[in-house]
Amino acid sequence: MRFIKKLTAFICVAAVAASSLVVNASADEPYIGYNYDWWGDPIPSQNGFVVEDVISGAEMGAVTLAEPNDLFVHNETGKFYIVDTKNNRLVITDESFNPDNIKIIDTLTYSDIFTEADSKIKKTTFNVPMGVYVRTDKDGHTLIYVADSANERVVAFNEDLEIEMEYVRPSSDVYDAQVTYNPNKVIVDSAFNVYVVVPSITQGTVQFSADGTFNGYYGANRVNATAEVIAQQFWKLIYTREQIIAMRRNVSIEISNVDIDEEGFIYTVTETRTSDTDILKKLNPAGTNIFTNLGYDQYTYGDYATRYYKGKNYANAICDVDIDEEGNIYLLDFATGRVFQYTNECDLLFIFGGKGTQKGTFTSVSAVESYKGKVYVLDSRKNSITIFGQTEFGGIVQNAIYLFNEGLYDEAKGPWEEVLRRDANYWLAYIGLGNAYLNQGDYATALDYFYRNSRAGYNRAFKSYRIEVIRANFTWVMTVVLVLVLALIIISYVRKSMAKKKGKKTGGTN
């Protein structure tokens, strides 16, 4: 008995010790990892990203940041550019956030081209800078573009802080004189065309060529077809000119942020809250949106549930977009402080972040950037940068997607199965496995994986599966059908002839 008691005690102690050894990584986060399934229901999931560190202005050696509004990471040099809006300066640092590597820019000088024209002004400062973009050409010449909002210009300067170009308000015959020009965000494509987001412009981004000439607008949003808009279209058929002019004009919602990927596609986001039109657009060079919900595609962005308040639906307020080197899309939701990570096909991968005051939550997010697998989120009220690192689970998912995008479907199968072992609710893993089996030619298994996970995948697998089944069974099915048809013809013929004979026998009554 004593021995058994001792043994039980030992087992209990061992069990307690073992349970304390199990580390629950997600329990440390101030947010609950979740994902969406095919039905659009949120389901708990493992975290793909966890907080690594929070860096304040003082820690990076820049005293205090004041309402920083934009963050840009230059992939080629690894430099971080932080727009410190209230302090009217640009802070340049790097991945390590080491105070020794910091560079603070608040004063610029005009290069010779400008000083000849206006020799009095040699130096200039920022006034409410809002956005930054950096691009290096093939000769290694780097230009920093800052959207200098209150100065009504986008200023492009080199690393010697010499201004090389200013993108100012276009002349009034092409740009409405009554509309303000306060650049908010800026991006530059590989041909050094400049796209400026101006909050007062609803026609899209303001596009300049490298020499500063205004090219027009690029990537306008559509008008959300609400009942009011449709009713107005009807009244326009009846109203007179004066009445139409007096009507409330329907304009699309302005673009709130832009980013450009390695291939030159431009992504725009719209922080609308009240409409779900064109929240994220991927624009080709012609300005056409690739992420349309035409056909059978169903792109959704941010959280699915909306809140209803005083006659209006309030949804996400996607305020920033970022594309990483692998083509993953990051959307930042101002309303909930969450970051949504998508694949290049816009399939949801992970959701992280949230509102709050703990590490990893935010009060007023302003920018998201990704660099070397880490995600950096700038908070304009906490005045800090939060660094998110990938978890092991996130790494496996990322690896599986990478393999799949490379066309290595069989190799992607292992990681996807590992994902399902860790989180059986992970929707994308089923689609990934379905695709793997589909590419192997195992259509029946592919159908099982796609069932209630992906209509597009199911449709593709079913098409091949159906052909396979028909090919395998065509001969005997057709034989049976032909025999049956023949039998029916013979039977009806026999019946008819018998009826005729009968008719002849009883005939003569009519």
Binding site: R452, R455, Y458, N459, F462, R466
Partner: protein, 212 residues
């Protein structure tokens, strides 16, 4: 032409479906209304609406399968049908309609047959078709629906001995009457629920009072 109308009761729904114009006249002439057949059709209507939700192929099925509740299917088939019959009868008795409740019930049920048949075809076909071939399915679906609507008009016209415009007006106002009936039913249900809650709270009050 086969004018032999002495057929069993279950053949009549198919006969009127094949003869949309004179079929109901024949039915009326032969007084071949069968409540048993009509009930079978109504129950089939209910079963088919459930089958449509549960057995339609994945590519065309939008039913939320995590929770399955049979009550909405029951109310959108059987209760809706009975409301139609009651609404139509209450309206048409006031406007010189000749149909009795039983007649209306029977002919309305018979008129549903093409819709139900095409629904079965669609449910089966949806398991074999791709999304790009959905046109075939929807063609059948609309064909059955249109056929049933034509039959319903013909049925109402015959059973009440109305002219076509009067039939259409009667059918429109039947829908209005249905809305009113359903509204009153919901109102009644809510009020009864309130009465029940009131009674129950008095009961609990008394329980507290006398328990000491």
């Amino acid at each position: 032409m086969n004018f032999d109308l002495d057929m069993p009761a279950w053949k009549w729904p198919f006969y009127v479906a094949k003869h949309p114009f004179e079929g109901f006249d024949d039915l009326r002439w032969k007084k071949a209304y069968s409540m048993r057949v009509a009930w079978v059709i109504v129950i089939a209507f209910f079963l088919i609406s459930v089958a449509k939700a549960q057995l339609t192929g994945f590519l065309f099925n939008d039913t939320y399968v995590k929770v399955f509740n049979i009550v909405p299917y029951f109310s959108s088939s059987v209760i809706l049908f009975i409301t139609w019959v009651v609404g139509n009868w209450s309206l048409c008795t006031l406007f010189d309609g000749e149909g009795t409740m039983k007649n209306i019930f029977c002919v309305s049920a018979y008129a549903l047959v093409p819709y139900l048949i095409t629904q079965i075809i669609c449910i089966i076909a949806s398991n074999f078709l791709l999304r790009t071939e959905s046109g075939f399915m929807f063609f059948f679906e609309y064909l059955g629906l249109a056929w049933s609507v034509v039959l319903m008009i013909s049925a109402m016209k015959t059973v009440h001995q109305y002219s076509i415009p009067k039939t259409l007006a009667a059918m429109f106002f039947t829908v209005v009457a249905m809305a009113i009936i359903l509204f009153l039913a919901v109102l009644l249900l809510t009020l009864f629920q309130q009465v029940f809650v009131f009674g129950y709270s008095i009961y609990t009050e008394l329980l507290y009072r006398f328990s000491i």
